[in-house]
Amino acid sequence: MNMTNRIQARLIAAVGGLLAMTVAGCDNSKLPTVNNNPNAPTSAPATAVFTNAVESAVGTWLGSGYDLRDISLLIQHFAENQYIGNDQYRGVNATSLNGTFSGSYQNALEDFQIVARAGTAATDPSLKDPAIVMQTWDFGYLTDTWGDIPYSQALAADSSASVTLPAYDPQQQIYNSFFSKLSTAATELAATSKNALGAADPIYNGDPKKWAKFANSLLARDALRIVNADQATADKELKAAFSEAGGVFTSNADNAQLNWPGDGVFNNPWAVNFASRDDDRMSKTLIDTLNHYKDPRVAVYAMPAQATGLYAGQPNGLTNTTAVAYSDTASRPGAVFYPGAVAYSNSPLGGSGNSAPSYLMTYAELEFIKAEAAERGLGGLTPAEAAADYYAGITASMQQWGITNAATISAYESQPEVVYQSGLAGLKQIALQKWIALYSDGGQAWFEWRRTCTPNLQLAVVHAFSYIPRRVLYPTDEQSANGANVAIAMSRAGSSYDNSTPVWWDKTSAAPTCQ
């Protein structure tokens, strides 16, 4: 073999060796580590999951999609000046609130479930129970809006049972579960001295005593809600709420409220809406009521109309053509809901709304619950106690909205039409004050109107149905992905399932204020 030949042979050996090395070098056993996700973990701190879920839940029910731009129109707190569809009841179909339904299960309820699981594993009620209370608060809006919903089998796709098609539970069973969960939570929270959440809890800073009060207050809300359908249970659960360890709200300092940071990333969702939209006006129904009673809250709830400087409302359900006249003659919502400046207009639009709180449940509402329970002799209370609770509710609402002058409040309360009258008239007064106080929580105001028929709302001028909707149709995502179970729930609701079909607790025949 000559030299060239030898070089040639070595070269070939080198290339062959290289091929062999390449093959050996591609060690396939290392491939899975390439696929370790560097972007997101497969487990996360329960505290951080809780904070996110609270933000999401509050944004869903007290934000702009469900509350501000849909249900607050039905309940005639607001009216639409443009994009008038929802004000004509076109927003309660299967499409419009689909995202509200989906989002609450996916972004809040599932995450609360994870936190509750972590709390159970750590046998720490201060971690578990706030998540359970928040879940119950959230499920309450869902069932009161849609009726029967997936509950006992919900949120279980990742469990060992891997339920991918959850059944819809009858609402009565859901409510019974609420009662038992809230009672257990309140008892456990009142007893614990731990605080697992701390600053990760944007509502109560992790304080289990405050959470116990919220649990009992929510128990009272839920118990009274079913009073026309199952008075015995309502009575029993109200009693539990008022007597259980931990107690209920006793002042506005106990309010379950989310204080938005207002840092431009996490702003109050109404302020975010008003930063770019100018289509909401105050409803004539609400403003007329406030004006009629010379209510000092009118200056907080609303702005003076642009053209007149007066507080005035717009009728609900106008057309684009007929709404035009109200563009500048009807009041916009109050400056407390507006961000610092808005682009579509000069002053006076502008307020502190970016960091305005969202109210999950207030002391005022609790007092109105107590007043009604007392007037009806439920929950261990007597009719004689009703007046004091009624006035306490009004006072709390005034103070909550920044009206602190005692003389102003007392002047309002001493008007002949506001002075508490007992009996049926008193029940109607309580319901009307609750409707006023629940401003900014359109969902609760709507549920209460369905239960109490108060105030006596008139149909929107132009209306997609000949009635004010009493429920929202099952959302499209569930219809397409869980169709069989939706069909069962629909047939259980009645043969003529539509937006007028009452949910289980909605029995106006048994409601004294509806007669």
Binding site: A20, N35, P41, E55, R90, A157, G264
Partner: protein, 1070 residues
């Protein structure tokens, strides 16, 4: 299985290492020369070989070739030297291998449709066309560059059958290309692009794909546009997975093989190609000019708080010159003084500029006996049709070949491209320039006022504080202020580098090591001035309490591919030839994305994160991926007329679970040249007839990180607290690869001395076990889960017919028709699942994949109708009602596509024209949906001929509640708006049929004397035009549109029309 394969391959490698070398000669013969047409035009890609010695090469773009034969092999003998190129009659001559340089030029006679010559096939291997068993089509650099298009994909428009190319109207915007339909529901459907043997990325920066953060609906195009078509020697489209099985998973949608121009030996030569063209918006909506801004006939401007001056519709008063306070009326003592309310018919068209596109490529080639190099520099400058927008591209390629001895050949190339974009126009909902500015618009608005005063503040017309001078302060910004005061810039630096070493061990065995890297860095920067009211995800881009905002996005991407391949060729007898390759590939890719959004800055004009007034919102992610592969390919040819080819590949992908990460896919194809097998067939009618058929299976992996469900973090803290949320997609630790199976058959026929040729294919391909996310009921806590499910079937046929109508000099006329039909169908989805939603528009229409329906089903709400009479069922007010459920409105896939390319030659003059036609399929037009609701379109004039509400409309229908004939008179405004309010899509779904005169070129070769003065062999000047005519029945929009290369197609809203351009080009050939 896996280790077994490796072991075998390792054994093969070791065996190769033991093969003895051959003697290296000391004196080689260099064979060099030039191949041209009869008229002297250089022929690129011609094969020049000494068949008896199995040596040879291809000519470069100047028609030059050089190769050497070792002295040991030549030994003074006389051999046959052949030059062949597809489309030309081959020539053979004899040369003596003297031991020194032998010069031999060839001049080939055109026979443009002969089935002879070579084409570049998979793995960059040159193959005899007569022996190909799969469908592929080649486009030469010359055919490609008839006119100047903004990207290489658009250059292919109409020139290839079986390919659907859709462009868009923004400079540098996306062009989508699909071959033989869609195979994947949610994954990629674009073909794989391969440049000089190495895959390159075609990353999608279209809108919708790129919806996150502040960078909204702007279309930054797809990455393959970085390639300069003037550097391309040829493009080969491999149409089915059959032809592409060897490239791996990503070629399941076909492959586009691009070969760039190479250097040639000899003196340095220069090539110059340049063109300039002028672009106009080709098709703007037909606007009405009789009614201005407002609603119900009312309008009056009072500093944003007048009568409906916040309204952005055109159902206002008649533009009859009545005196009204308007946004540009003079202000006296703080009050707006009424001015005549008149129409400005050109207020949209005058916003658009005449765009200008200029490009130039200058390249140099040259070399020595053993080396050749090419250096190319190119620049492209597009001034967009939108004011203050441009795209500039600067690129350079250096490529070289070095022959070291007679056995080793080294190749290397380095391609650098830099893109600079300014103000890519937004499209669609949100930031779309058409949407934001002209679909919701007042027809009386005087664009000149906006243009003249955009630098001034709103104080000039009593507008709100902190805003620019404008016509509407509720929903709009001044369009000029948007373009000038809110600059968005983007830059992409890209490097594609590859190098290879080829070693010829013996006559019949060679090895090749090749590595290539494709890397880019992309930065997008958006500045938003104070007062910008664009929305992103429902919240304001600029917090109104602050003095501006910005977004800064940075992406980096790198992919490396390394291949080692050994190829053996042997003629066992003169009747039996074998060609076999075996190789391995390692692919590694890495992608990083970082984005910073600042919604409020403290000091105006300083777009730096240190100036953030509000907490910056940060996000980012990394994707890494590795795939190891081994592959093999064997081709056996009998008697020169029957060829059988088999391929096999096994991949191991990092994205699949270890137990499922290995997948094997084979293919088999064959071709028979019947006219050679049965010579009696050949005659004056039939020149040749070839039949082919093949079957292939291709596996495909998942995207990275699809196995384990994760918690999604948020860089923003809630009052200082970290946030995590469980992802709404349930991932799947048991994923397996998806599989595409394809069967195809074809024939190639030449008639009348090959004056008429036909190349036709029929195919059926289906994809099973699609890796796709299917909806879960939201009540499970998840929105979807990832599964292997479903089957998509595509069937179709395609044909290319070329007819040399006139061949008598000086006249020539050749005509080619490319035709394709494909029908994709969703055969099944996950059990129990009826549909998968791809995208939707405003609750009115959705693009879905539905079991039993064609791929890309448009589902929308129709007009509720009486089942007996078909008349609309109206509400009590005599207005429209929607159907209760979504209706199937057709597929977005076309029925058929056709391209017609004509070339006329008379002496030195050439006229080329390409027409392309799309027939059928449906589109939904959001521009028409909202353009009627806002009353800006001319079609909304009917019903308000006398005044805004007279005579109005009485819809011919029945009142649903009473069953009686409707007698309600409604206004035109209600007539149209109740369609939109009720989400009724039906009237806005159109047949997407159109014909476009895509390219026209009138060129002239200057007389040789003139060219010689330029030291050139040829100089050509030409008038060029693109998109000159569009014929369609779709109203108001350009029916050709896309936002992205993904599957969100067929739903249009506020797109810019593809521009019409006319220009001049010059090409000087050395």
């Amino acid at each position: 299985m896996q280790s077994h394969l490796w072991r075998q391959l390792a054994r093969a490698g070791a065996a190769i290492a033991l093969i003895p070398g051959v003697i290296v000669a000391q004196q080689a013969t260099t064979v060099t020369g030039r191949v041209t047409t009869e008229t002297g035009t250089p022929l690129q890609g011609a094969s020049v070989t000494i068949p008896s010695l199995s040596v040879g090469t291809y000519t470069n773009q100047d028609g030059r070739y050089t190769f050497s034969v070792s002295a040991a092999r030549s030994a003074g003998q006389t051999v046959a030297l052949s030059a062949r190129r597809i489309g030309y009659v081959p020539k053979t001559t004899t040369i003596a291998l003297s031991g020194s340089t032998v010069s031999q030029d060839f001049s080939l006679v055109a026979a443009p449709t002969q089935l002879t010559g070579v084409v570049i096939s998979a793995l960059g291997v040159a193959k005899e066309k007569s022996q190909l068993g799969t469908a592929q089509q080649e486009v030469s650099g010359q055919q490609l560059n008839v006119t100047f298009a903004p990207n290489i994909e658009s250059q292919l428009d109409g020139k290839v059958s079986g390919v659907n190319i859709v462009g868009n109207g923004t400079q540098g915007g996306t062009t989508s290309i699909t071959i033989r339909g869609y195979t994947s529901i949610t994954g990629n459907n674009q073909p794989l692009f391969v440049v000089d043997g190495v895959p390159v990325t075609n990353a999608d920066y279209g809108s919708q794909q790129y919806g996150g953060g502040l960078v909204g609906n702007k279309d930054y195009g797809n990455a393959i546009q970085d390639l300069n078509s003037n550097d391309v020697a040829s493009v080969t489209v491999l149409k089915g997975p059959n032809a592409a099985a060897i490239y791996g998973s990503r070629a399941a949608n076909g492959a586009i093989i691009i070969t760039t121009k190479r250097g040639s030996t000899g003196n340095t030569r220069m090539d110059v190609a340049s063109s300039v063209s002028f672009d106009r918006a080709s098709r703007l909506p037909d606007f009405q000019n009789q009614y201005g801004q407002g609603s119900a006939g009312q309008f009056k401007w009072v500093n944003g708080l007048g009568v409906l001056d916040g309204n952005d519709q055109s159902y206002g008063p008649k533009t009859d010159g009545r005196l009204l306070a308007q946004f540009d009326s003079p202000i006296v003592n703080g009050a707006s003084q009424p001015t005549p309310f008149i129409a400005h018919p050109n207020n949209v068209s005058s916003f658009f500029n005449t765009g200008k596109t200029a490009d130039a490529t200058v390249s140099f080639t040259g070399g020595t006996e053993h080396s050749a190099a090419r250096i190319s520099l190119s620049g492209e400058n597009v001034d967009g049709i939108i004011p203050n927008s441009y795209l500039r591209r600067l690129g350079g390629i250096a490529a070289g070949t070095l022959t070291a001895g007679t056995h080793l050949t080294l190749n290397g190339s380095l391609n650098y491209v830099r893109n600079d974009g300014l103000n890519r126009p937004g499209q669609g909902y949100g930031n779309g320039i058409m949407e934001a500015m002209f679909v919701w618009f007042g027809r009386q608005v005087d664009m000149n006022s906006l243009k003249a005063n955009w630098t001034k503040s709103a104080a000039l017309n009593n507008g709100p504080n902190n805003r620019e001078y404008n016509w509407n302060y509720s929903y709009h910004n001044n369009p000029y202020w948007m373009m000038y005061a809110n600059p968005e810039t983007d830059t992409r630096d890209r490097i594609i580098a590859n190098g290879s070493a080829e070693y010829q061990f013996t006559d019949w065995l060679k090895g090749q090591l090749r590595t290539g890297t494709d890397t880019y860095r992309y930065n997008i920067f958006n500045a938003y001035a104070e007062g910008n009211i664009e929305l992103n995800n429902g919240s304001r881009t600029v917090d109104p309490a602050y003095n501006g905002a910005f977004a800064n996005l940075g992406d980096t991407f790198t992919e490396n591919n390394t291949d080692l391949m050994v190829t053996a060729t042997h003629d066992f007898t003169s009747h039996f030839n074998v060609n076999a390759s075996v190789g391995g590939n390692r692919r590694y890719s890495s992608f990083q994305d970082n984005e910073v959004d600042v919604h409020g800055i403290t000091v105006a004009g300083i777009y730096n994160v240190s100036n953030a007034g509000l907490a910056p919102v940060n996000s980012g992610y990394t994707n890494n991926l590795a795939v190891n592969s081994v592959y093999g390919d064997a081709t056996v040819t009998f008697n020169g007329w029957w060829t059988v080819e088999g391929t096999a590949r096994n991949d191991w992908s990092s994205t699949l679970p270890a137990k499922n990460n290995s997948y094997f896919y084979p293919s088999l194809n064959t071709s028979v040249l019947l006219t050679d097998a049965l010579p009696s067939l050949k005659g004056s009618v039939v020149s040749y007839l070839k039949l082919r058929g093949g079957t292939a299976r291709v596996g495909n992996d998942a995207a990275p990180y699809q196995l384990f469900t994760t918690y999604v973090g948020n860089a923003s803290k809630f009052a200082g607290q970290p946030l995590f949320s469980l992802s709404n997609t349930q991932l799947n630790p048991n994923l397996k690869p998806e599989t595409t199976v394809s069967n195809e058959g074809g024939l190639e026929l030449g008639l009348f001395d090959s004056r008429l040729t036909l190349d036709a294919s029929i195919y059926d391909k289906y994809t099973t076990d699609e890796i796709t996310s299917v909806a879960l009921p939201p009540s499970t806590g998840y929105g979807s889960k990832l599964v292997n499910a479903g089957k998509i079937d595509n069937r179709g046929y395609e044909a290319g017919l070329t007819f040399n109508v006139v061949q008598s000099r000086p006249w020539e006329w050749s005509s080619t028709v490319n035709f394709s039909h494909n029908r994709g169908k969703v055969v099944s989805l996950n059990p129990g699942l009826e549909d998968i939603q791809v995208t939707g528009f405003q609750g009115a229409v959705y693009l879905q994949e539905r079991v039993g329906k064609p791929f890309g089903a448009l589902m929308g709400y129709g007009i509720k109708r009486d089942s007996k009479t078909g008349l609309p069922l109206l509400d009590d007010n005599g207005l429209w009602q929607p159907t209760d459920t979504l209706q199937y409105m057709g597929t977005v896939q076309p029925d058929w596509l056709a391209g017609w390319v004509n070339t006329f030659r008379f002496g030195r003059a050439t006229l080329e024209a390409t027409i392309d036609i799309r027939h059928g399929g449906k589109i939904f037009s959001g521009t028409n949906f909202y353009g009627t609701a806002t009353g800006v379109l001319a079609s909304t004039l009917k019903g308000r001929e006398q005044d805004w509400d007279k005579p109005g409309w009485v819809i011919n229908g029945l009142i649903e509640s009473t069953g009686l004939k409707n007698t309600n008179n409604v206004t035109t405004e209600a007539y149209w708006q109740y369609l939109a309010y009720n989400n009724i899509a039906e009237p806005y779904v159109y047949n997407d049929t159109y014909l476009k005169l895509r390219e026209v070129r009138l060129g002239y070769d200057l007389p040789p004397g003139w060219a010689n003065k330029l030291h050139a062999t040829n100089a050509n000047i030409a008038l060029i035009g693109r998109n000159l005519l569009t014929s369609t029945k779709v109203p108001n929009i350009d029916p050709e549109f896309t936002y992205q290369t993904g599957n969100n197609q067929g739903i249009e809203y506020a797109t810019l029309p593809v521009p019409r351009s006319i220009g001049l080009s010059v090409h000087i050939t050395p």
